[in-house]
């Protein structure tokens, strides 16, 4: 067993350990520790990715002295490694991008608490990515939920509290159903480890025994996770949470947290239930329908929104709709499209949040749509970055959004019955996206009247004023371009990873 193979476990335990460590440090040191930890984990995960690419197969890592099914274990393939690398990257950039806001908006004595939350969030995400045990997954889902709630409400105003409590209620409903589903599965199969459960489920499915409970279990788990990841009807908490929490929280929440749950759902589909069984159960049609509705409704409410950050938040409702639509196809291609969209949406949405904050900085911290007039000239880089993000969101070629839209179209071609609704939904939501994103871009590039400028005294922001944020923005743009142009290997990697994922 090579030493590299320990890295997934190390990365989990390292971030887990960094949490309590931050509790005894002051804010500044906590920040340094946090950044260092994320960087180290990024390096380790890329090493793991390289390793899995070399071996081309996934391996099982035993947590403790007892093999499965007696002990815990984690399982690492290239899909997991890729996700880990990507999540670390995005989280690092978000943390770098949001430095200023954090220092401005968080009480100085509570800074370190924020970094505790981030560390534990990272560890729980990694655990969700790697774990091979359902109950462990449940425990870390809870960590994920609570620390996400902490991220929301660290900036203390009424909005965030309300958002946090709505978020908690929703996700508690979700995790209740998830836990119940896990109990059912345990009762039916007598195992908690995913692989063993799958064997048992296959036997049950063959014998036709316990068909009904199995169906209900799949339903419970899918609905539970759908609730937790803010699928359309359950998104009430989302706009406030993303719109009013501090910048890095908004970016991380929108790009990573919900994605962690979604990845868990993929894992459960493939590794626990078996995808063909899921396909035969009608549950994915429900997911499809809600995904499509979410695509449209999210965009519509985004058009109606006049607060730029809330607008971006609503657009991520639509994007999550895309992802679930991809699941709904119930095909390999659809799953790959969704996985790719997880990546591209994470890259783009965090870019958009950071850029939007840059723009609002240049317009007197007002997020109101009409006050952004001409902000693109006052903060050039942020303007460019926002334009890039917007173009990527509306599926402009060269950027990642275009690729995922193409992949969705390809997937739609495969599943005959869902073809028409899927394509029409794609087209409609693309047009809607164009409307509200282009509207914003046009607004931020509409020159402001001189007298208004004289009255409002906006400050002009250059790259020197916000070094960190600018660096993050540049990296984000680079990532978007990379995934837009060089997507072929990534998609291929996703395919291979998905093959050995089950």
């Amino acid at each position: 067993m090579e030493f590299v193979q320990n890295f997934p476990f190390f990365s989990i335990i390292l971030s887990l350990f960094a949490g309590p460590l931050c509790s005894i440090l002051n804010g500044k040191w906590a920040k340094r520790v946090n950044l260092a930890v994320i960087t180290i984990i990024l390096a380790m995960s890329s090493a793991v990715l390289a390793f899995t690419l070399r071996t081309g197969d996934s391996y099982v890592y035993m947590m403790g002295h007892f093999p499965a099914p007696w002990g815990n274990e984690i399982r690492v393939g290239m899909l997991e490694a890729l996700m880990a690398v990507f999540f670390c990257l995005i989280m690092l950039l978000c943390m770098i991008g949001g430095v200023l806001e954090r220092e401005r908006e968080i009480e100085s004595t509570k800074q370190n608490l924020y970094y505790i939350m981030v560390n534990l969030l990272l560890s729980s995400l990694l655990a969700l990515i790697y774990t091979n045990d359902l109950f462990t997954a449940y425990v870390f889902v809870e960590i994920n939920t609570i620390s996400a709630c902490g991220l929301i409400m660290i900036r203390q105003n009424g909005r965030t509290f309300e958002a946090a409590i709505r978020y908690m209620i929703m996700s508690l409903l979700g995790s209740g159903m998830l836990l119940l589903g896990i109990c059912f599965l345990y009762d039916l199969t007598g195992h908690l480890l995913m692989s063993n459960i799958k064997e048992q489920v296959a036997i049950l499915n063959a014998s036709g025994q316990y068909h009904m409970p199995l169906l209900i279990t799949v339903g419970l788990i899918s609905v539970g996770i759908a609730i937790k990841s803010a699928l359309f009807p359950f998104h009430a908490w989302l706009p406030d949470a993303y719109g009013y929490s501090t910048l890095s929280s908004a970016a991380i929440l929108s790009s990573l947290v919900s994605k962690g749950y979604i990845f868990l759902l993929v894992k459960i589909f493939y590794r626990v239930i078996g995808f063909d069984i899921v396909r035969d159960s009608k549950i994915i049609n429900v997911l499809f329908v809600f995904g499509v509705i979410g695509m449209i409704m999210g965009s519509i409410s985004a058009i109606k929104e006049s607060n730029i950050r809330r607008m971006i938040a609503y657009s991520s409702v639509a994007q999550i709709g895309y992802i679930y639509m991809g699941f709904g196809f119930g095909t390999e291609l659809g799953m790959i499209a969704s996985l790719y969209h997880i990546i591209s949406h994470a890259a783009t949405k965090s870019l958009l949040f950071v850029a939007a904050s840059g723009i609002t900085d240049a317009s007197g911290d007002s997020t109101d749509f009409f006050d952004l007039t001409g902000a693109g000239y006052r903060n050039k880089l942020a303007g460019i970055a926002f334009t890039v993000g917007a173009l990527s969101m509306v599926g402009f070629p060269l950027f990642t959004g275009f690729i995922s839209k193409l992949l969705f179209a390809q997937a739609a071609v495969d599943s005959y019955h869902k073809l028409l609704p899927a394509l029409i939904a794609l087209a409609v939501s693309t047009i809607l996206n164009t409307v509200y994103f282009m509207k914003t871009v046009i607004r931020i590039y509409t020159p402001e009247k001189r007298e208004v400028l004289a009255k409002k005294q906006y400050q002009v922001i250059t790259m020197k004023d916000q070094k960190w944020k600018s660096a993050a923005l540049v990296c984000f743009i680079a990532i978007n371009l990379f995934f837009g142009l060089y997507s072929e290997p990534v998609v291929g990697l996703l395919e291979r990873g998905l093959k050995i994922f089950a």
């Binding site: 067993m1 320990n6 476990f9 335990i13 887990l16 350990f17 949490g19 309590p20 460590l21 509790s23 005894i24 035993m62 947590m63 403790g64 002295h65 007892f66 099914p69 007696w70 002990g71 815990n72 009480e107 004595t109 608490l113 505790i116 939350m117 534990l120 560890s123 729980s124 045990d133 109950f135 425990v139 870390f140 809870e142 960590i143 609570i146 620390s147 709630c149 409400m153 203390q156 119940l180 345990y186 009762d187 039916l188 199969t189 007598g190 195992h191 048992q200 316990y210 009904m212 209900i216 009409f370 006050d371 409307v435 282009m438 509207k439 509409t446 402001e448 009247k449 208004v452 009255k455």
Partner: protein
Amino acid sequence: MSKKVSEEKYKKTLTYRLKQWLDGEDLFTGTVEMKPQEPYKVDQAVSEQRHEEKKRLLEQIYDIEHNPEMRIFNKIYRLFAFLFCIFLVLMLLTAVSNLPTVGSADRPVNNEVAKRYIENGLQETGAVNIVTGMILDYRAFDTLGESHVLFVATCTVLILLREDKKKKAEQNQNNDRLYEPKNDVILQTVAKILVPPIVIFGIYVILCGHLGPGGGFSGGAIIGAGLILYQNAFGFHKTERFFTAKTYKVLSFSALACYALSKCYSFYTGANHLESGIPLGTPGAILSSGLIFVLNICVGIVVAGTMYTFYVMFRKGGY
């Protein structure tokens, strides 16, 4: 000859609009704010007015008492939610009605996993209490996560309730009697008598976690209860002599760190098939079952601190 139409009337007509459109003036008035020709103005007054309008609108929309649509919407929403709950319960009952019978020994749950836990648990973990052995050795990863759940919850509570602002703290000092109990003789006497046994019992429960019912969580909870009782009786001044925020920080950090590191060690050795040199000792003795003993203590410390911290935060927002 068509009769002359006045300018503004003409401006209203469809033909004029069509002409505009054909001239390519702008199709998108109002939707994408493209008004190239007449200069666009946003001065203070306009924006003020806009905000005013928004406010009024919101006033109308969101005061639920006088907004029938809202009320009806709420009613419908609640109705649907209720129906959903009913549906859920029915589903679950259906599922349950198809589950294997409760209490029978031949259900899928009772498989080789439980068998090994029971039959070899004592030898493999050294814990007489099989459940403890299971959660702290076989499935220790869950428990690690679980104690961190507790920790992160404490941190959120600190975020929400800890008063760090100077003047707030002073206020608390001023109306401190609001937090301090009257010197209640009965309470204090009872506390004098009760607190030591409670704490000692808690310690006993923690230490014997691997021998009998109990363990870190229960024992820690008991100790926390003892601390809370003490605080109630004697007030913050006395507790602050031995238990402050700093104490809690250090304790919880060291406990969690110890927990994490030891588990890290055992996971690492286990995964790499190395022999962990930790002696299991003789089953039944206090100093037995290797790491489980240590872990119980760590968990106990964390839980006790957390319980007390919850209480203090809810009560006062600061130690």
